[in-house]
Symmetry: C2
Subunit: 110 residues, 2 copies
């Protein structure tokens, strides 16, 4: 994602964790280091191509680390950087809000 003028910090955060999969990737990596195949399994429904793109975006923003092991077949592991780990309170707030309002959200979706 290219750098651009952003007027509001909320928008900055959404740029980084928004979209369908990025928050899910961070959420999964908060539990620990994961290989590509493990992430792909955890995020049900994501394509290889999309997951690769999301991981590249997160890496370029300094949210995750990508570590390649010189094995055959190559092994690639993803983990959160300290910056990525600092997103935990944001994800927790999002998690808690949805859990606390589950019933009301169900009504709203009808």
């Amino acid at each position: 994602m290219s750098k651009k003028a952003v007027s509001c910090p909320v928008e900055t955060t959404l740029e980084i964790i928004g979209g369908r999969w990025k928050a899910m990737v961070i959420h999964e990596l908060l539990k620990g280091t994961r290989r590509f195949s493990e992430l792909h399994r955890a995020l049900q429904g994501v394509s290889h191509r999309t997951l690769t793109q999301q991981l590249r975006d997160l890496e370029s923003r300094g949210i995750i680390n990508r570590k390649v092991f010189g094995e055959v077949p190559p092994k690639v592991e993803y983990s959160l950087t300290p910056l990525g780990r600092s997103l935990q309170p944001v994800l927790m707030a999002m998690h808690e809000w949805a859990v606390a309002n589950e019933c009301e959200l169900d009504r709203g979706a009808k």
Copy 2:
């Protein structure tokens, strides 16, 4: 937005506040009731059509109220519902994270 099976509460919250404009709308309405034209001015760069769609989505999810006054020309006011107002801690967490990590995010974006 149609109701669908969602595996994770974080995803539910992102469904509601994600995308380019919804969090901005909620952020603006946390300051008080706004007319359409005021929202349009506050969210620089949004088209009338897109803003209308975002407001409809938020209304259908029970996040905002739309009040029409029988005047000529018609006056329409938007405000947060109690459910919408309860998103404040989520937006605050997003805001605080971006402000706290501004320097690091600038480096990551290069």
